[in-house]
């Protein structure tokens, strides 16, 4: 009995309840006849797709700024990096010159621009947060909203030539830009390696105005369709997430990382050990923002689309809810909180929709249910923000 109690204590009651709910949902899903392979494939894909965005919460929390609702700043940095990179790739005819490698180049350039932008924006944002100590989370929520609104103006003003990005008529960028002719699915979609793609290039490079590109089979281990069953193992995506986790883990064990965690946990303790608390908070905010940029690029490549304008508005909330469900508190968060929390949150969303659809067949209902479930989990997570024992 005491062993059971201890186990519950370690897992934490919120995680236990949500975990059981998740399992119940999966069982129901299988009972109503959903295909197990595609169901589990979806869960895994969405889990990894969101995980880096959730991981972005860890440095923020550890440095003492609480949940970084302003992760939208990182998200827009990543999006800006992506569109700039795609435009460069198009204008310079990368696919004509480099073939399949152009997709990888585009992805790397997008990451590079995104990370550099996010680092600067994040540091500036950290300076702001140092001036509003005590109400970081409220301020960051509105900073996040404002960043999205401001970027709406930027998106509409950008005069890009890439047909995937710009509106077919008029100027400005599309709401949703397909990554089919760019880096979409490189790390998670087996089709990229089994089928060739026709990619538009600027006029004057060749007669057809497009090139056909086939990613090398040698790289197909990055996205494996296990035994042709429809269960996809997005190894590339998992590796990127694992790498991010490793970097953060190492960072949190470095002198700077430990100083940052101490500053977040106990400001006076940190000051009494000669640590500059403000600069540690800026560091944490910047790292968090950078992870947000990497996270949205990984999200977009998995999803296959870049979502501009208001799409990322609530992504911060989903990330916050995930890590809270994972057992983090607004004072302490760990990588295991990220892994567990993202699985539970995204898992439930992935499974609940088809289940609801199968049970009640009304056309608009799934969207409504999705909103209810998402916000319900966020609310629950915030009330239980104390976290389990680590």
């Amino acid at each position: 009995m005491t062993k059971l109690k201890k186990a519950i204590d370690i897992i934490g009651i919120p995680r236990l309840i949500i975990g059981l709910f998740f399992i119940a949902l999966v069982i129901t899903a299988l009972a109503v006849g959903l295909t197990p392979s595609s169901l589990f494939s979806d869960i895994l894909r969405r889990w990894m797709m969101y995980a880096i965005l959730v991981l972005a919460m860890v440095p923020g929390v550890q440095s003492g700024i609480g949940m970084n609702f302003g992760i939208s700043l990182g998200i827009v940095s990543g999006l800006l990096g992506s569109v700039i990179s795609m435009e460069v790739a198009y204008v310079k005819g990368w696919f004509f010159h480099f073939g399949a490698g152009a997709a990888w180049l585009t992805l790397l350039l997008a990451l590079l621009i995104g990370i550099v932008l996010a680092a600067f924006v994040g540091a500036a944002y950290g300076l702001l947060l140092n001036r509003v100590k005590g109400s970081e989370m409220t301020v960051s929520t509105y900073v996040g909203f404002s960043a999205i609104a401001m970027m709406n103006i930027v998106w509409i003003l950008l005069r890009f030539q890439n047909g995937q990005l710009r509106w077919p008529i008029g100027s400005g960028l599309r709401n949703t830009a397909s990554l089919q002719e760019s880096f979409g699915g490189l790390l998670s979609n087996p089709d990229v390696y089994s089928q060739s793609r026709s990619i538009a290039i600027p006029a004057g490079l060749n007669e057809a105005g497009s090139v056909t590109v086939q990613q090398p089979k040698a790289l197909s281990f990055l996205a494996i369709d296990v035994g042709g069953s429809g269960f996809v193992l997005p190894l590339g995506l998992i590796m990127v997430f694992a790498l991010c986790c490793l970097i953060i883990w190492l960072f949190l064990r470095s002198k700077k990382g430990l100083a940052m965690s101490a500053a977040g946990e106990n400001e006076l303790f940190a000051v009494s050990n000669g640590i500059n608390v403000d600069s540690m908070r800026i560091l944490g905010t910047a790292v968090s923002t950078v992870l947000g940029a990497v996270g949205i690029i990984m999200y977009a490549q998995t999803y296959g689309f870049l979502q501009l304008y208001n799409a990322p508005l609530m992504m911060g909330f989903a990330a916050v809810a995930s890590i809270l469900i994972g057992g983090a508190s607004i004072e302490r968060a760990s990588i295991s909180n990220v892994i567990i929390g993202t699985l539970l949150f995204q898992g439930i969303l992935t499974v609940a929709l088809p289940v609801v659809n199968a049970v009640i067949n009304v056309s608009a209902l799934p969207e409504i249910i999705r909103i209810i479930i998402t916000n319900g989990i966020i609310l629950y997570a915030l009330t239980k923000a104390r976290g389990g024992r680590r």
Binding site: R253, L258, N266, S272, N273, G274, I275, N276
Partner: protein
Amino acid sequence: METEYLLSMNNISKEYFGNRVLKNVDLQVKAGEIHALMGENGAGKSTLMNILFGMPVIHQTGGYEGQVQLAGEDINITDPHDAMNYGIGMVHQEFMLIPAFTVTQNIKLGRETGKPNMLPLIDKVFGRDLDTLQWDEMAKDSRKALDSIGMMNIEEYAKVAGMPIGYQQFVEIAREIDKTGIKILVFDEPTAVLTESEADRLLEIMRLLASRGIAIIFITHRLDEVVQVADSLTVLRDGEFVARKEVAETSYVEIAQLMIGRTVEKLVEDEDTDKRELSDDRIALELEYYCVNMPGERVLDMNVKIRDGEIFGFGGLAGQGKIGIHNGIQGLFETEGNVYVHGELLDLEKRGEALRNDIAFVSEDRRGVGLLLNESIERNILFSAMQVKNEFLKGGLLDGKKSREHSLEMIRLLDIRCTGTQQTVGSLSGGNQQKVCLARAITLNPDILMVAEPTRGIDIGAKKLVLEHLRKMNREEGVTIVVISSELVELRSICDRIGIVSDGKIADILAPDSPDADFGLAMSGLKREDVGE
């Protein structure tokens, strides 16, 4: 009993969770008398007053034993409202005023006079809470109360915010006076926050009130004030009644002696022979015109030289500034003046400067400053050495093996009772937390160790171990140790010299075997010469 006491509290005892904080204490006050209630911090003064006021904290923890009589009749005060009805009032040390309200509003708060509302129905439905307030009358009452304590120049319509501290205190007094039928007025260390002239004014007002037949209980540490205004006094020590004296029949020295008491208990045995050579030429730490702006513990213009290799103690009452000393050097609060370490000026503007100059600290606020409660014992022990001296790092990362070995050694050395190096510090007992703090400081290998309240809230066994270890570090490794403590016994048992801090300054530097009275006088900011004995 020959004299008729207005208030008499007899045989009062109180227990907090099995801890007896008051033992058969008596307090008697006559009408029209100023009675000083004296004792060190923790002597039981506040608890006694809480009983008098029927504070919830008393009744939630099982009430008290003993008997309270007002004008010869047994009374039972179960909540602060009762106390008010009996005519007992209090002037708090921290003002209970609302800054954004006017003087009148503050004086009348909760006791407003009103007349039934114009709309009779409202009165019937909501009761008198929605009465129309009669500000004119209330202002008149306030004026009267202010005038009666000679505060003609405080305007009753002025806002409290921005008033000088002294005025705020007088507004508090006016509020108590305004309560009808006030019989007993308690002043809780009223002069602690006042300037000298304000304090004189206050004492005058106390005399004035007493002359009108109000009994005044005056809680204070300041001997000179007691001798100046009080008629009689009661001294408490460690929750026990020590004596009731008429001021006219006693002296500074006697009162001081009563407050300190004879505690011969030696906490640490000095078994080894002392081979240290202390010299006034070798100064480890010097404070010169040193000020620290720590709220509640200000250090004002302190000058002291601590010799290399000695154990120096800072004692004194709470709020006098001893706690500010190390917090300033540690960089937690703004400082002025000069601090020299081995003759070299320390740049206190720079973060972590003291640590880099081999000064280590054990904070008085274990949980607030001294520890990362959610982190492991290991992380806590290593943290400072890692950050300041880059120890326990391998390739920029924490060296797990080395740090575990070191923490295990510390756990053994200081006998930290835990389940392992990974246990979170928050789940340890107070004594073991204190040992972790000490371990962190020792890990820095300091030249100078500043330890504040080393034994606060820890059991006797841990206390002995901690003090013994400090002495050992001093004797065997030649570490200069500065102990800041409220417990005189502790200071007297391990220190070579003890500086008593009063009003942010060193009142006197005494040898541990100096007479008790000298310590008592120093705590009131006096020297034996000052009182002419």
